[in-house]
């Protein structure tokens, strides 16, 4: 089948898609967006997390056909329009939250969504929001630091005191 959808603001089209393919497979293998990662492909690890019409989902659990005419935003779409790193991306680098980096794309999307909902989350809010994203390298401490840093920068940018 052919599917057409919007990826990071641009229209994309994929032909000869087998009906059993996931959105993750189409992104990675057919439309040149391999940033979303394939760690478990059963919705347990969160490393394939993308926005689908503004809601974070595990793209491995979304059938390719389900995204027809819909909007997908991946880790490749988190940078600013001028190409500079987004606030959450920069915070992950600065805090040392990236080691092997395989979990990073999913965590970035999930953190972006969290700070959109609540730009001053408590530690327990952060842990709850990120509990579907496995990381095997960091022990999560630097990820907590990164989210706190992104939150502080976001609030500072808006003139909100911490």
């Amino acid at each position: 089948m052919r599917i057409t959808f919007t990826a990071n603001g641009k229209p994309v089209e994929a032909d000869d898609v087998w009906e059993g393919e996931s959105l993750l497979y189409v992104l990675r293998e057919r439309v040149g967006l391999p940033g979303s990662k394939n760690a478990c492909e059963q919705g347990e690890c969160g490393s394939c997390t993308v926005y689908l019409d503004g809601t974070p989902v595990c793209s491995c659990l979304v059938a390719a056909g389900q995204v027809q005419d819909r909007e997908v935003r991946t880790v490749e779409g988190l940078a600013e329009e001028n190409g500079e790193l987004g606030l959450v991306q920069q915070a992950f680098i600065d805090a040392g939250a990236v080691q092997c980096g395989f979990c990073t794309p999913g965590l970035l999307v999930q953190t972006d969504a969290l700070l959109d909902r609540d730009d001053q989350p408590s530690d327990n809010d952060i842990r709850e929001a990120l509990s579907g994203n496995l990381c095997r390298c960091t022990g999560y401490e630097k990820i907590m630091d990164a989210v706190r840093l992104a939150s502080a920068r976001k609030c500072a940018g808006k003139g909100v005191s911490e």
Partner: protein, 786 residues
């Protein structure tokens, strides 16, 4: 000269400062930007025009004879390019890290659940999956040899490898064994010297590395008949060494380039899909990509050895250890992998960082029809630490002593001897680490009036609002060796090139080091900055064009390849200074490279590096060998077997829901001596990550194997700690330099994984009063429902 000198002295104040991004700083990772943009190319992201997808057929049985394999139906499927069995292998059919006992594809029999039997290459992964299902294999299913008793009675239960097959240092179904005796050993006379004798049996389950990036890579056949492989691994050169004979190629025609690695933790030390992808590429003449799904990853790599251990310790009434006796049985599974080294570590480190005058030890690894076990972070030492630290708590309790004070009373220090007879010849601050971890502030008690259920056992499952929750605190300390041991020369190679690019001196560092997330690439650039006085450093992709860097394992990579980068950079520096001496006739003995300039302490700036280098590049390669070690004596275990030792102490605070058996680790504190923190941010990240894998082993992680069959090959059923399961991990670093090591550094990655698990179990014991002897601790162990 004089003019330059005066000018130099003026400038020296600005330039005497070493680069803040040199060693001891925490510059950001050079690959960080690509990783947060989703543009870092991991091995599973590899893509090639016309590439095929490879897939393996794996055995559903742990032990069976293969009567026939019929590939005809699979070959008929449109889109299938090749179906291969062992008969299609052009070269040697066996490979292995230490013992070449593993067939690249099963020959006439399978020895574990998940062993690869045949390979398919097809134009779509789903086509490959369907073709795999169409391969017909006729099995004669045999009763698997899975328990210690079965393994040790081969006359009754059979051999995993027939006696005429691969012989290691063992016999029958014993893959490897190591004995050790020191002092008077452990005899009735020695036992009589002790006032209190405590024994215990302990068991460790099979842990998985569970790296997130699945085994994957892309094999591309080359015009010269060779092959190029883009691969996630821990050691490019040892992969090649195992691959080339099977592919029937000389090593130089097997070229490996490191693709992005999504974690490793020992699980990539062995071959997984490397040979399979190359065989398919050779056969089809097309590029072949293999990416394991998560279940296949569980079948496709080795795990941490499960262990059964018996310990006996004797102490005097005033708390001094008199003797220790131990037997450790490690299940190595079907193939040897790293089992011999795991046994060596268990035997030599299995009595912990304590001074014990009389010691006996017997460690063995079995061949069985269980999944193969090999390298995982801290191997051999992790299993033993659970045993000896459990014993330390029991001894302290029996003596009515504080568990930390009891450990401190027996702690080894610099100058003491290991049970192997090896003297500890660099700092071993075991007692100090324990003191520091004990002195760190405790977290506040559970605030029942303002309870956030996300912070209690059961968390979002809403299982408790504070009722039935008891707190416990536990301590532990552990010891790990750094680098390869027992006479192995695991040298590292580094090439450093210095030249002027864009009007600036730029250093390039080229090694074959596998960056698996640990941050070695960051550290290499830091070393080059410090040694060469440059700011700009580029890291060449890791490949087999340069000499071996050894494995990214055994906490060795900064020590060994970092050391090689240091040697190569020092050689480049000397070559540059010699060039200057020849050109300018410098006679000073205090010449250094700082901030892009050649400077003399006494004479100031001599010349800029740009002017001195001109169009010339200085490009030198050096090998770094650690001091030699020797194999342990087979019977006595004596010998200077290890390069370096590393120590970590932990304190765990847990809340236990004693009614439901749920555990929440509230805080896990670590204090570790790292000799010198080349990159403090990365060092802390390593310690926190290592502690978290130890937490997994303590309370969550186990591959369930029943009658040789893996029952939980998925992240749904094999649980690794989430961010909700993981507590704050405060870390304190000590920097006591090791005079034998580059910059005085001490390997970091494994010690916390060795030491943290027992502290968590100790804390649970304190909270519940239950004598826990098996890890991971499960709810049924705590509620008495087992």
């Amino acid at each position: 000269m004089s003019t330059r000198t005066i000018q130099g002295q003026k400038n020296l104040q600005n330039i005497n400062q070493a680069s803040k991004d040199g060693i001891g700083g925490s510059p950001l990772r050079p690959d960080g930007t690509l990783k947060v943009k989703g543009e870092f190319a991991y091995s599973s992201d590899m893509w090639h025009e016309d590439m095929l997808w490879g897939m393996a057929l794996r055995s559903p049985h742990p032990r069976a004879n293969i009567l026939s394999v019929d590939i005809s139906e699979a070959l008929k499927l449109p889109g299938v390019y090749a179906v291969l069995t062992h008969q299609d292998i052009p070269g040697s059919k066996f490979y292995g890290l230490e013992i070449q006992d593993q067939p690249a594809l099963a020959i006439d029999k399978v020895r574990y659940h998940g062993e690869a039997i045949a390979l398919v290459a097809a134009d779509h992964p789903e086509t490959a999956r369907r073709a795999v299902k169409k391969i017909k294999v006729e099995y004669e299913v045999l009763t698997p040899i899975v328990t210690e008793e079965q393994c040790l009675d081969p006359e009754t239960h059979g051999y995993v490898h027939e006696p005429h097959e691969f012989k290691s240092h063992g016999y029958g179904n014993i893959c490897h064994e190591q004995k050790l005796v020191s002092g008077l050993g452990v005899t009735d006379e020695v036992r009589a010297l002790a006032d209190v004798v405590i024994s215990g049996d302990y068991e460790v389950g099979m842990q998985d590395q569970a790296f997130l990036g699945p085994e994957s890579g892309l094999a591309v056949p080359a015009e010269d008949g060779g092959i190029d492989l883009y691969i996630a691994t821990q050691w490019l050169h040892v992969d090649r060494q195992q691959m080339a004979p099977v592919l029937g190629l000389p090593e130089e025609k097997v070229r490996l380039t490191l693709a992005g690695v999504g974690g490793a933790f020992g699980g990539r030390e062995d071959i997984s899909m490397q040979i399979h992808a190359c065989l398919l590429a050779q056969h089809t003449g097309k590029p072949v990509k293999i990416v394991y799904a998560r279940d296949e990853s569980f079948y496709g790599h080795v795990h941490r050895h499960p262990a059964k251990m018996h310990y006996e310790h004797g102490v005097t009434r005033d708390g001094k250890l008199v003797f220790a006796d131990c037997r450790i049985v490690l299940d190595g599974g079907a193939y040897a992998s790293a089992s011999p080294a795991v046994v060596g570590n268990a035997a030599s480190l299995g009595h912990g960082p304590y001074v014990i005058p009389n010691v006996k030890m017997h460690a063995i690894a079995l061949y069985s029809n269980n999944p193969s076990c090999g390298a995982m972070r801290g191997f051999g030492a992790v299993q033993a630490a659970f045993g000896y630290e459990s014993q330390m708590d029991k001894l302290a309790e029996a003596l009515g002593m504080d568990p930390v004070e009891f450990r401190q009373l027996n702690a080894m220090a610099e100058g003491d001897h290991m049970p192997t007879g090896q003297q500890i010849d660099s700092p071993a601050p075991v007692a100090e680490l324990l003191q520091r971890v004990k002195d760190m502030p405790l977290p506040p008690p559970l605030d029942l009036d303002n309870l956030d259920i996300r912070a209690v056992p059961g968390a979002l499952s809403n299982t408790s609002h504070g009722e039935g929750i008891v707190r416990g605190v536990g301590y532990s300390v552990g010891i790990k060796n750094v680098g390869f041991s027992e006479g192995f020369d695991d040298y590292s190679t580094a090439r450093v090139r210095l030249e002027v690019i864009g009007g600036e001196p730029v250093a390039m560092v080229h090694t074959a080091m596998a960056e698996v997330g640990q941050g070695g690439v960051t550290v290499h650039a830091q070393i080059a900055r410090t040694e060469l006085g440059v700011e700009q450093v580029t890291i060449h992709p890791a490949n087999t064009e340069v000499g071996s860097a050894g494995s990214t394992s055994a906490s060795r990579q900064t020590y060994m390849t970092g050391g090689a980068v240091k040697l190569a950079a020092e050689a480049v520096k000397q070559a540059l200074i010699t060039k200057g001496r020849r050109r300018y006739g410098w006679t000073q003995n205090d010449i250094d490279l700082v901030a892009g300039k050649v400077v003399s302490e006494s004479a100031g700036v001599l010349v800029s590096m740009v002017d001195l280098l001109g169009d010339e590049a200085i490009d030198l390669t050096r090998e770094h060998h650690h001091r030699p070690t020797v194999p342990f004596d087979k019977e006595t275990g004596q010998g200077f077997g290890h390069v370096q030792y590393t120590f970590c102490a932990n304190r765990a605070v847990v809340d236990v829901d004693v009614e439901l058996g749920l555990v929440k680790v509230v805080e896990l504190t670590a204090v570790q001596d790292v000799g010198k923190a080349l990159n403090p941010l990365s060092v802390v990240g390593q310690i926190q990550g290592g502690c978290t894998q130890a937490l997994g082993l303590a309370v969550m992680e186990e591959i369930i194997v029943k009658d040789g069959k893996v029952r939980n090959a998925s992240f749904t059923d094999y649980l690794i700690p989430t961010i909700l399961d993981t507590p704050p991990i405060p870390v304190e670093i000590l920097e006591l330099p090791d005079p034998n090591a580059p910059y005085g550094l001490r390997g970091v990655g494994e010690a916390p994984t060795v030491s943290a698990t027992p502290s968590i179990v100790a804390a649970i014991r304190q909270a519940t009063g239950i004598a826990l002897t098996r890890i991971p601790v499960r709810p049924e162990h705590l509620t008495g429902t087992l």
